[in-house]
């Protein structure tokens, strides 16, 4: 017995090697390991994680309350003592407003994408799976919504329901619904023709189970990639709405509202708009890089 343990047979050796090889292959095919190999995507992920951590720990990190005004210290430049990012038109500390503004921008962006994705997925699944008049009805409504430019759609909704964090999130989310629905419907059309779906139908799997246990999980990879990219768009949409004065209510800081403040003093205090703009740029870039990275690892054509 002892010999057997200490001196494995040739078959056993081959089996272990096979298992080890399989493990290595699985590891290599594991999404996270693939992502780790994509340095650009990892840079995007780092930016996102960094921004999320800053947003979560904003009360601990911000040196001043974000809305504390000091008219006597308006437009202090970048690098001023006590205000390393300077101050804005009302003498509020820009670093603190950037930190708290990140919180709002990220909450709105993620929240809006979640709202858009949830409703879009439900509509896309229903339209794609059942087809027929239901498909036509849902997709024509989506086409109707598509006929409004995305930002105009969000502006109309804001005008109707008013501004504020929740309303802006909802408005951007609703404006996101048609694009999610279209992407999901397209995927459902492909997935529902797969053998396993046909097999499920044959053995009498219910529509709900078929939709949520078989089709949805197999469209998730596309949805995740798309959602990552939509978060970036939602950040820009929030900034745009706040820039137009339709977004977050005063005096709550968001990157868009900082940008709006900066527009009033582009030549006399350019640091205000620059700082707000750079944070939007970097975060949007982070989400885009991560989205591209995920798409690459999910795309079989991109396998090397």
């Amino acid at each position: 017995m002892g010999d057997k343990k200490s001196r494995p047979s040739g078959d056993a050796l081959g089996r272990e090697a096979n298992i080890e090889m399989l493990k290595r292959e699985r590891r290599a095919n594991n999404a996270w390991h693939k992502l780790k190999r994509n340095k650009i995507a990892m840079a995007g992920l780092f930016v996102i994680v960094f921004m999320v951590l800053v947003a979560i720990f904003a009360p601990l990190l911000a040196p001043y309350p974000p809305n504390k005004v000091n008219p006597g210290q308006a437009y202090l430049p970048f690098g001023s003592p006590g205000h390393i990012f300077g101050t804005d038109d009302l003498g509020r500390d820009l670093l603190s407003r950037i930190i708290y503004g990140g919180r709002i921008s990220l909450i709105v962006a993620v929240g809006a994408t979640f709202v858009g994705a949830t409703l879009g997925i439900l509509l896309g699944l229903t339209a794609g799976y059942f087809g027929g008049w239901l498909d036509s009805l849902i997709m024509r409504i989506m086409d109707g919504m598509f006929s409004f430019p995305f930002i105009l759609m969000a502006m109309i909704l804001i005008t109707v329901i008013g501004n504020g964090v929740l309303n802006v999130t909802f408005a951007i989310g609703i404006a996101n619904v048609p694009s999610f629905a279209r992407v999901v419907r397209g995927q459902v059309h492909i997935v529902k023709r797969e053998e396993y779906c046909n097999a499920g139908k044959v053995i009498g799997v219910s529509n709900t189970r078929q939709l949520f246990c078989h089709i949805l999980p197999n469209t998730m990879s596309q949805i995740i990639v798309y959602a990552t990219l939509r978060v970036a768009d939602a950040i820009i949409s929030e900034a745009f709405l706040s820039f137009l004065g339709l977004g977050i209510a005063l005096p709550t800081a968001s990157w868009g509202s900082i940008l709006k403040t900066g527009r009033e003093c582009l030549t006399t205090a350019p640091h205000v708009a620059t700082i707000g703009g750079v944070f939007i740029l970097v975060t949007v870039l982070g989400f885009n890089l991560l989205g591209d990275g995920i798409r690459d690892i999910m795309d079989p054509k991109m396998k090397q």
Binding site: K68, A74, P77, F78, T268, H271, I275
Partner: protein, 556 residues
């Protein structure tokens, strides 16, 4: 504390590293401006601080010719004196149509224009005007430049009385116009009316030829004809208005051949046009553009006949309590607020609901405004039954200055425990929310700028008479029988001294009632190119090109 500070620096260093070189430029340019803006912010703006453009010494004699290019932020929609609503429209009308009387250069007195002289009957009910006999209308489609006569005065004033949506002629007191002969009219009033003569200076009361008004009908607003120094040549909506010199003008011949009024909605475009020599005058500058115009040596400012204020709901909600209103005023550092809002010195601090340019202004009432004292404010709130503060709303029309005001107001009140919810909306939505808002406690306070003249009537009557509580000027619902009595007496009185006395009594009462925070007189800010000579920036911001007291010329 130390740990937090270290964390902050580490975080800031990381964030700064991420901002890459983009911030480098801001780092270099901001400190240069910082001295100016900070200095401006640390002391309240005063009239003395307003910029008076140093006009370049002309190299020779007055030069005739050239087209004066003026840029304004918004396009005129109609230039019918009856229908106009904005300053941009009034500026065009002022070049084409003329009144019987007008204001002088300093906006302190009334001088003759189409009238040569006037007299008022002893009971103050009849105004007799003798008219110039050398005035001819500009030729138009329905008349060929005929002489202006008394019938035209009667027609024009009665048209405004009967058809104008806005009261531009003391409608309550106006009765009729009697034509004595071709060059003399008597305006009959139902009762004596103190502000009547000033009302006649309103550009809505310009004298027009009946044939053109009726011939063009609804289109007269695009084909205005009058007696002024310039004729309306073309009006392209949202683009430009072209005026050309009136060859038959009765007064001094205009030095410029014509005027082009262009529209540029972005203030920086206006300054760019001035700097690049594409425009001669840029009107209604705001914010940073004022600084840019100042840096380029183009800025010309004048204090405006306006009052910018916060008004309280006098009848409902917490602000109906006089102690709460006093506490709110005591909680706000008004000097700090004014310097925070107007960082480019574009306004003067005021204390009363009346422009200091008015003949009725008496500085003895300045001291009636409660002094900044947050501790006393807290004590007053506790006395009023709000030891832990309360929540109130502030309604503003969306504009940079108003948003800054609301945020500063919110901050100062937050320091004494009052939470202010800012409701910012478009002007139209703001107007509809605020008008009549005294009836409930939804609108507890609101911000407004009100443009008037130099007559206290234009302010005190509008702000405080109970007749006006359903209009936006007294939307807070201030109503006091005694004040109404004084205001009516002042309205009927024609003697300026007596009127000053009445308005003083009103002022004392409303200041003691703490009806609002009257904090700024926003200046008129223009950019004027150095080669433009004999320009005048007046408190009413009227575009004065060729008047009895100035005649702009361009150095070629």
């Amino acid at each position: 504390m130390i740990r937090r500070s270290v964390t902050t620096w580490v975080l800031a260093a990381a964030l700064a590293a991420m901002t890459l070189a983009g911030c480098g430029s801001s780092n270099q340019s901001a400190p240069q401006q910082d001295t100016t803006t900070t200095a401006a912010a640390s002391e309240p703006a005063t009239t003395a601080a307003l910029e008076t453009r140093a006009e370049e010494e002309p190299s020779g004699e007055v030069q005739k010719g050239g087209i004066l290019t003026v840029v304004v932020p918004s396009s005129p929609k109609t230039v019918d004196p009856k229908d106009h609503t904005t300053d941009y429209e009034a500026d065009i009308i002022f070049q084409v149509a003329q009144n019987l009387v007008t204001y002088n250069k300093d906006y302190t007195d009334i001088i003759p224009l189409l009238a040569t002289e006037w007299s008022v009957s002893e009971d103050g009910k009849d105004y007799t005007f003798k008219l110039r006999d050398d005035v001819y209308f500009q030729p138009g489609k329905f008349q060929d430049g005929r002489q202006m006569v008394a019938e035209d005065v009667k027609y024009s004033l009665e048209r405004i009385y009967n058809e104008c949506a806005t009261d531009r002629i003391c409608r309550e007191f106006f009765e009729s116009v009697e034509v004595v002969n071709d060059f003399e009219v008597i305006i009959h009033l139902k009762d004596s009316c103190g502000p009547f003569l000033e009302t006649l200076c309103d550009i809505g009361n310009g004298i027009l030829p009946k044939e053109e008004v009726e011939g063009w009908g609804d289109e007269f607003g695009y084909h205005l004809v009058g007696t002024g120094p310039f004729m309306l040549e073309e009006m392209v909506a949202d683009e430009q208005v072209t005026l050309k010199k009136n060859p038959n003008y009765w007064g001094d011949e205009p030095n410029v051949d014509g005027v082009v009024v262009k529209t540029a909605s972005d203030n920086s475009q206006i300054v760019n046009a001035l700097v690049s020599d594409e425009a001669h005058i840029g009107m209604y500058l705001q914010g940073e553009s004022i600084q840019r115009a100042k840096d380029a040596g183009l800025l010309a400012q004048a204090p405006a006949t306006s009052v910018t204020m916060i008004r309280f709901n006098m009848q409902n909600g917490p602000t109906a309590d006089p102690k709460v209103r006093e506490a709110i005023i005591k909680a706000v550092d008004i000097d700090g607020m004014v310097s925070g809002i107007y960082q480019y010195g574009e306004a003067s601090r005021i204390y009363q609901p009346l422009t200091f340019l008015s003949w009725g202004y008496q500085d003895k009432y300045d001291s009636l405004i409660p002094e900044y004292d947050p501790e006393a404010a807290k004590a007053l709130l506790a006395e009023a039954g709000y030891p832990d503060g309360f929540t109130m709303t502030m309604y503003i029309g969306s504009s940079t200055n108003r948003e800054k005001m609301a945020q500063l107001f919110q901050y100062y009140l937050g320091e004494v425990g009052i939470t202010v919810e800012i409701k910012s909306s478009t002007m139209a939505d703001w107007m509809s929310a605020v008008t009549g808002s005294y009836k409930d406690s939804v609108v507890n306070s609101y911000g407004i700028t009100f443009n008037g003249t130099i007559d206290p009537y234009a302010y005190e009557e509008k702000f405080f008479t109970s007749n006006n509580i359903d209009s936006v000027s007294n939307a807070g619902g201030y109503a006091d029988d005694q004040v109404d009595e004084w205001l009516y007496a002042a309205y009927k009185e024609t003697d300026r001294e007596k009127r000053t006395e009445y308005y003083g009594q009103v002022m004392e009462k409303v200041m003691n009632d703490n009806v609002g925070i009257f904090y700024a007189c926003e200046a008129r800010n223009w950019g004027i190119a150095p080669k433009v000579h004999d320009s005048v920036v007046r408190a009413d911001s009227r575009l004065l090109i060729c008047t009895p007291f100035n005649n702009i010329w361009i150095e070629q």
